[in-house]
Amino acid sequence: MTATRNDQRGEVAVRPANQSGAVANPARTRLLGGFLWGIAGVALIALIWEGYKFFGPDNGVLIGELRVLPRTTDLAMPHLWDMMTRLAEPVTRADGALPLWAVVALAALMTLGIAAAGWAVGVIVGVAFALLMQRWRLAEFGLLPWIVISQTVPLIAFAPIVKSWGSRVEIGSFEWQDWMSVALIASYLAFFPITVGALKGLQSPDRIHVELFDTYAAGYWPTLVRLRLPAAVPYLLPALRLGAANAVIGAVVAEVSTGLQGGIGRLLIQFAGQASGDPSKAWGPIFGAIVLGLVAAGSVALLGIILKDYRRTEEAA
């Protein structure tokens, strides 16, 4: 039995609802503990990085011709403090250049916006597909294989086509923007786990509960609203989080693919091209991408708090 499997990564502890007053303090301790463990984890990675850089051979570790551990030169592995000071310095020597962290933050915000739009479309489409497939078995047999196949189309083949279609869409005063192509690709990656999770969740109520609703002569809608949707929440939340991660990855990759300016994907490419002369700079957008992923996952965790009454059990997706 996986009753009350807690999800500590999201820093949202799930508690049995009946113990309200007594758990305030343990909950706070647990939250604090979570933070401490998080900081300890980051510190450990920093220690491994600098430790390996200090003790490791310049040319990395090779087994035969194969390099199993990277080189430790400043070019391959800049010092963490160099990366941090580089973040605070202006991005270029040009007049009025913003500090690197601000440029990265602005780009990350734009990508996050696009990913959020893609995620929202993915949620709507994904839940709609799940409802359709739960209602009619035939739809499940007919649609599910196609939904699985849809995820095997390589993004690099797909991105230019979406962009090409998009450049032809013009309805009245509405003109397709380039960022919409990126959001569409993000939603294409996001909807899949959401569809699968939502379908599993909608089908999860025990037969005995479904039959109880039948004996009450409850129709499709009351059963959906009062039984199936609440039961789907524990399946849906991890799926939404997966969807958020997919949307971010999809947005970053699609930005690079379609050549959209202003987002974190473009910065990754641009600064990677400058890594020979300015190795620390290339790490700026990498940190930005990490923060971006954390913020996306964290935002979904907030949804988890809102819906926490329904999270009695949670399945790993």
């Binding site: 270029t92 230019p160 923007q177 202003g262 907030l302 708090i305």
Partner: protein, 381 residues
């Protein structure tokens, strides 16, 4: 009580993030608006990479209002990923595209109907760079070495030059290069592919760990493909052959477009600093010294242009075609197997544009062109 408060807080936080994200989206929406004035013909130009000094003339033509003077409103579309300029042009997504000749010849052989209407770069800017003590001074020395290349159609000059020396791809080890020169600096590549205007500068703005100072030109051997039989024509402006043939508006637009482009490149030659500022403003992520270097080196590939900027030199075209037929890469592929059709290039449009400009008293040969000296700073800043 406590729980409802926390839940309200979470709901509030969620609403705030959502609002911020929507705001972020809406600001990006406004950007693409290019002030659609009446009367102006809207044109899309597809570049082959990110905005940078390599394309300074096109951005200068926008910034200086040259396109508007010709009655055009031009949107410049950068690439930088999987958008292939000649494909975008052949699909009708854009009206003109900038691309290297051998790459487009390959697309033409596969059925695309495109015409080179202006050969902006008269010379090849591709180099193969090795360490000064490596003993690699010429293409003949490649044998048995690790040779870097970007692939994706950027490699044909290497194989054409090797073919002329009797070498084929099996005699060397081809290593795919990244966006930067780290693989070369770390010794994974013996001779790396570099453009005069970009990657070569990246080397000169990197720190030598032995001396703690920037690398100097003396540290490297530089093989310029322009001096080999492998040299191929690079940045050219391509147009849709069928529309050139039958669409009168497109014909007129083409001449007007080329006139403005020529004026843009003249501006870049005379004012490299301003042109570099323009490409930085257009979104090149490089620092001012690298960007200025790039504009200056690009100018050297264009000017002076004896026959007038953009005019296709038939001998250079034929050499590119021969090189493309002879080049075979490590997978056994060639860009083309037979000579392209006669429609693949035409000087009609650029000649018409140059004549009109000369009538206005514009010097289109750049006879007085003199490059400037650019000092590169660490990291291109």
């Amino acid at each position: 009580m406590k729980f409802t408060k926390r839940r309200a807080l979470a709901a509030g936080a969620f609403a705030v993030t959502a609002a911020v994200l929507l705001a972020a989206c809406s600001t990006t929406t406004d950007e693409g608006d290019s002030g659609s004035a009446d009367e102006l013909t809207e044109i899309k130009l597809q570049l082959q990479w990110l905005p940078q000094g390599q394309f300074a003339g096109y951005f200068a033509a926008v910034d200086q209002g040259y396109f508007e003077e010709e009655g055009l409103s031009v949107e410049i579309i950068p690439s930088g990923g999987d958008i292939v300029p000649q494909d975008a042009l052949a699909n009708g997504d854009v009206d003109y595209a900038v691309a290297w000749v051998p790459k487009v010849l390959g697309s033409i052989e596969q059925g695309a109907n495109l015409t080179d209407i202006a050969q902006i770069f008269q010379k090849s800017g591709t180099l193969q760079v090795s360490w000064a003590d490596s003993g690699i001074d010429s293409v003949a020395d490649f044998e048995g070495k690790k040779i870097g290349s970007w692939g994706f159609g950027n490699e044909w000059e290497i194989f054409a030059a090797m073919a002329a020396e009797g070498l084929d791809s099996s005699t060397v080890q081809i290593i795919t290069q990244d966006f930067n020169m780290n693989a070369f600096l770390q010794g994974d590549i013996d001779a790396a592919q570099a453009m005069t205007y970009n990657e070569y500068a990246q080397l000169l703005e990197s720190t030598d760990p032995d001396t703690g100072e920037l690398y100097q030109p003396e540290d490297f051997n530089v093989i310029s493909y322009e001096d080999t039989v492998g040299a191929m024509l690079q940045d050219a402006i391509w147009a849709d052959t069928e529309r050139l043939d039958s669409d009168e508006d497109y014909q007129e637009t083409t001449v007007a477009f080329l006139k403005a482009v020529v004026k843009g490149w003249i501006f870049a030659a005379e004012n490299p600093e301003d042109a570099a500022e323009g490409t930085v403003a257009a979104g090149s992520g490089w620092g001012p010294s690298h960007e200025l270097w790039m504009v200056n080196e690009t100018n050297k590939l264009i000017w002076p242009a004896e026959n007038g900027i953009g005019v296709i030199d038939e001998a250079a075209w034929d050499r590119t075609v021969e090189g493309a037929i002879s080049a075979v890469n490590e997978t056994g592929a060639s860009p083309i197997t037979t000579a392209p059709p006669a429609t693949a290039w035409s000087n009609d449009w650029i000649m018409q544009a140059l004549e009109e400009l000369e009538a206005e008293g514009v010097d289109t040969t750049g006879s007085s062109f003199a490059p400037i000296d650019v000092t590169l700073l660490e990291g291109g800043n």
